[in-house]
């Protein structure tokens, strides 16, 4: 019996201790006509480890082998071997939520270190222990901004159209049930940025917050100082959505404008978490000290034990669902512990210089890729704004067709902006430090063939 240790003798002895004749007797409080006997016939027979491993190997192999230039919110990076060797140690992998603090100091100290790392990357005061992912993190940040902005009575938030449309969609799906509205702010068709002009109609209006994405979905860098100052001058909080790799090079949100962003969220995946079809990733969430009691999710504090020795524990639990129930800041009751542990190890291994080098290579490789691709007749950069590690290109043919033909050559050439932005000929491409010169050339050659 897979994973079940009981021998027939064990079962007999246990039933005797209970005073039952059979295991079936233990289900005698369930009405007989409800029982599932014979109803699971569509399930296959069990497989041995060897058999199921063979099956999974075959399935995994079906999806392997292409060179990918897709980014759009999830990025390929080199992950040092030590990261997951350690993160999947049984002591981390098979531990529960650290409710028994004395028996969970390992997990708790890792989270405290993670919180510190994230505040140092973002330039913020405090961090939580992570939420599900970047998109749902933004939904939490929007709800948090309504609680934290005491000057505003609004249940509306300004969101740039140039934000990752998947973030917008997930945030809408989550917050609209609480009658919170997202008002979309357009982008400049020439630069690919969110201009101050687009915000003019909202001047003096009551909105709880402005969302600023740096870089934005197009890879374009926004004038974050001007946007931040405008929002705060108009009584709004600033919610920053950032890429953690980029923060090694770019101004941290805590230093945006004259007062810094109020809440910072983002997708933590680039910090040592594999692409893995979209998860498990983790969302990071930081804020100014004054908003900490409005922040959702788990938070770890450093304290002392009864002998005065340093220790770590869950704190500010009065915000959370297991204490506050219907009055909690969120229903969230986990973090993404394992992915967050990997990110802590990754960031420690890379250090300030290593992460800066990764960010620099991502930027430089994307620049080089854009140069190679725009050397092909009819291929142009769609926008003029400076970019970090993604860029939008306009093609002389429909993007969806071109991408399908590239895929036939095992080149995954980015994502089409046809559906989300009605830009039928535009693709969003990304390169990171993992792409070699040869990979970039491969893409250029394949694209030239497809467009010929």
């Amino acid at each position: 019996m897979p994973y079940i240790p009981h021998t027939p003798d064990d079962v007999r002895a246990m039933l005797d201790a209970i005073g039952a004749d059979s295991i079936e007797d233990l289900f005698d409080e369930i009405p007989a006509h409800l029982k599932a006997a014979g109803k699971l016939d569509a399930l296959p027979d069990g497989l041995s480890e060897m058999e199921v491993t063979r099956l999974m190997n075959e399935r995994a192999a079906m999806d392997a082998g292409a060179v990918s230039f897709i980014g759009a919110g999830a990025y390929q990076h080199h992950i040092p071997a030590a990261v997951w060797e350690i993160a999947t140690r049984g002591e981390f992998y098979t531990a529960y939520t650290p409710y028994q603090a004395e028996a969970s100091q390992g997990t708790l100290q890792v989270i405290y270190e993670f919180q510190t790392l994230m505040t140092r990357l973002t330039g913020m005061d405090v961090s939580n222990a992570s939420v599900y992912d970047g998109a749902s993190g933004l939904a939490e940040a929007v709800l948090m901004s309504l609680r934290a902005n005491r000057k505003s009575k609004s249940r509306k938030v300004l969101v740039p159209t140039a934000l990752n449309p998947r973030y917008t969609a997930a945030t809408k799906a989550i917050v609209e049930n609480q009658d919170v509205a997202l008002e979309m702010v357009g982008f400049d068709a020439a630069t690919g940025q969110t201009p101050l002009d687009a915000l003019k109609p909202y001047e003096g209006e009551d909105y709880a917050a402005l969302v600023i994405s740096q870089p934005n979905f197009f890879g374009s860098l926004e004038d974050v100082d001007a946007l931040t100052d405008w929002a705060q001058a108009n009584g709004m909080l600033v919610i920053a959505v950032v890429n953690p790799t980029s923060l090694a090079l770019l101004t941290p949100p805590g230093e945006w404008g004259s007062d810094g962003a109020d809440i910072v969220v983002g997708e933590g995946q680039p910090l040592g978490v594999p692409l893995s079809s979209g998860g498990p990733y983790f969302g990071f969430m930081c804020c100014k000290q004054k908003h900490v009691r409005q922040m959702p999710g788990r938070i770890i504090g450093r304290t002392v034990d009864m002998e005065g020795k340093q220790g770590f524990t869950l704190t500010l639990q009065a915000r959370e669902q297991h204490i506050r129930r219907s009055k909690a800041t969120s229903n969230i009751c986990t973090n993404q512990g394992l992915a967050m542990t990997a990110a802590t190890i990754y960031t420690s291994l890379l250090g300030p210089d290593g992460l800066t080098n990764v960010a620099a290579h991502c930027h430089a490789n994307t620049q080089a890729l854009a140069e190679k691709l725009t050397a092909i007749a009819g291929v142009e950069r769609a926008f003029t704004a400076p970019t970090f590690h993604e860029v939008v290109l306009t093609l002389p043919k429909e993007a969806d067709d071109v991408l399908a033909q590239l895929a036939e050559k095992d080149v995954l050439g980015g994502v089409s902006l046809a559906k989300d932005y009605n830009l039928p000929n535009a693709i969003l491409v990304n390169a990171t430090e993992v792409h070699s010169e040869g990979d970039l050339d491969l893409f250029a050659v394949a694209l030239k063939e497809v467009l010929a």
Binding site: Y3, H6, I18, E29, L34, K35, A36, L40, L43, P44, G46, S48, N57, M62, D63, I70, G73, A82, T88, G90, F92, Y96, E102, A103, G106, T107, E113, Q115, T116, V126, D133, N164, A173, N177, T251, P252, S276, S277, G279, G301, T303, V304, T313, Q321, I323, S326, K327, A328, N331, C333, T334, S348, L349, P352, V358, A360, H361, A407, L412, E433
Partner: protein
């Protein structure tokens, strides 16, 4: 065990794990980024060697209890063995390197696993459709209640403002109802652990959007009136939500769909043996009855007539409650659950419910025999049960928390304490099907020793633990003098 320094305290300027990152680039490679957008100072991350990092986090890991090390009988958490093979399979390069937006032509392996997993979950729960999108139990709850709301809204039935919740429910249930814009009304639970049916009838009405409940309940017993409850809620026009926290108890034995539930969430990190990872990631798929099919969260895996697989997104299912994450949820967790389902197969699924229930009833009887007090002594245990130490607290001054802390000294993880809230000084104990009889007996021995200590040396028990990396922590100081980040 000694205090472990923070990674930041190991840092020395100029030290690095050089092989872990690409070489530095000339500054002119960054000239396209305007100076005003550039960071002025490098982030103050630790500067440490590769071995220092490996040793530091390996040492920290040793300060955790874990299923791989200890019996971990947390009630309602299902801390069963997490198969290593599932981890290895989910970490295969083809799965690990697949981008979530890769075209369907390069996703058939992954999609086939997801499609089959959806079907397996439909079969074991008796529901008509399943979406794997929610990233945790709490998000599954959110999706479920959001679907209930979408159903009522689509019918123009907008007077329904309340969700009913038994008082023993998990805290996530009321928090979820509020996140979906509902008010919460609690329903009392009777002395035998079943819902007070008369009170439920009185609470139901045209304002009722639905009822959220767990069965077996958080009282560790099967709700015997489930069909009457379903009838009552349905007749009032409400829908029935099944919190799958305790699905392990009934896997293969009875199905939520057959009990009359309209929507359920499952915790794959419980029932399907995916790791808890120190508090996540989980996965909280949702299953629905016929009438909620149009509202399932996206994306889902579908199959064409030619046998190939495709995504079902909002362009196909326009009535969906939408996306709950940027991509498709915790894919890697779902792959581990798929492995587990294939490994168990039909017979294995049935055994989960049987042997988890056997283990719990055995442990309960043995603990009663050494003088522990069951909260519901006249009931069968499900896969878990409740003990109350109200007597010990009153007579000896030794609380459930004290006993929990002392268990750590016996190398046993404590059960869930002080939940559900309606039973004073309680333990909620869930041994799972993967623990051997010897492991259960060792727990009983530890409990017997602690009860004896409580009678002879109560002050010692009140100061436990003694063998852990730290003694009891000052939680008041932690909350009053917030120290959430390290500073040199």
């Amino acid at each position: 065990m000694s205090e472990t320094k923070l990674i930041f305290q190991l840092s020395h300027p100029g030290r690095s794990a050089v092989s872990q990152a690409p070489k530095a680039l000339a500054e002119d490679k960054l000239s396209a980024i305007p100076a005003q957008l550039r960071r002025k100072q490098k982030p103050a991350l630790p500067e440490v060697s590769e071995m220092q990092v490996v040793r530091h986090y390996t040492n920290l890991s040793s300060k955790n209890f874990a299923i791989d090390k200890q019996f971990y009988p947390l009630g309602s958490c299902t801390m069963k063995y997490n198969p290593r093979g599932a981890n290895r399979a989910a970490m295969l390069p083809g799965f690990l390197n697949r981008h979530p937006l890769a075209p369907e032509s390069h996703s058939q392996g992954f999609l086939s696993c997801m499609y089959e997993l959806q079907n397996f979950l439909k079969e074991v729960t008796g529901m008509k459709g399943v979406s794997l999108a929610p990233m945790a139990g709490a998000q599954g709850e959110f999706a479920g209640v959001a679907m209930i709301r979408a159903y009522h809204d689509a019918r123009g039935d907008d007077e329904r403002t309340e969700i009913l919740i038994p008082e023993a429910a998990h805290g996530t249930n009321p928090a979820t109802a509020v996140m979906c814009g509902y008010k919460v009304r609690e329903v009392p639970v009777g002395k035998d652990g079943d819902v007070d049916l008369e009170a439920l009838k009185a609470a139901c009405g045209p304002q009722t959007a639905g009822l959220m409940m767990t069965n077996p309940s958080t009282c560790g017993v099967f709700e015997r009136q489930i069909e009457a409850i379903a009838k009552t809620v349905h007749e009032a026009g409400g829908l029935l939500y099944y919190d799958g926290a305790n699905l392990n108890a009934i896997l293969g034995k009875v199905r939520p769909g057959d009990m009359g539930f309209d929507v359920i969430h499952m915790n794959l990190h419980k029932t399907f043996a995916t790791p808890h990872g120190g508090g996540g990631p989980g996965a909280g798929p949702v299953g629905v009855s016929e009438r909620l099919l149009p509202y399932l969260p996206t994306p889902m895996a579908g199959q064409r007539d030619d046998g190939s697989y495709h995504w079902i997104d909002t362009d196909i299912l326009g009535t969906s409650i939408g996306h709950l994450s940027a991509f498709m949820g915790n894919a890697g967790v779902l792959l581990r659950a798929y492995y587990y389902a294939r490994s168990l197969g039909r017979e294995g699924m049935i055994r989960v419910g049987e042997f988890s229930t056997l283990a719990a009833n055995y442990l309960l009887k043995r603990l009663e025999a050494i003088g522990c007090t069951a909260a519901y002594p006249d009931r069968r245990a499900s896969h878990e049960f409740i003990l109350t130490f109200a007597k010990e607290a009153k007579e000896l001054g030794v609380t459930a928390m004290d006993i929990a802390k002392r268990l750590l000294d016996y190398n046993q993880h404590a059960p869930t304490t002080y939940f559900p809230l309606l039973v004073p000084e309680c333990f909620l104990i869930e041994p799972t099907e993967t623990e051997s009889k010897e492991a259960l007996d060792e727990f009983v021995d530890a409990m017997a020793a602690i009860l004896e200590e409580a009678r002879t040396e109560p002050d010692m028990v009140k100061e436990a633990p003694f063998t852990q990396p730290v003694r009891r922590l000052d939680d008041v100081k932690a909350a009053r003098e917030l120290d959430l980040t390290w500073s040199e």
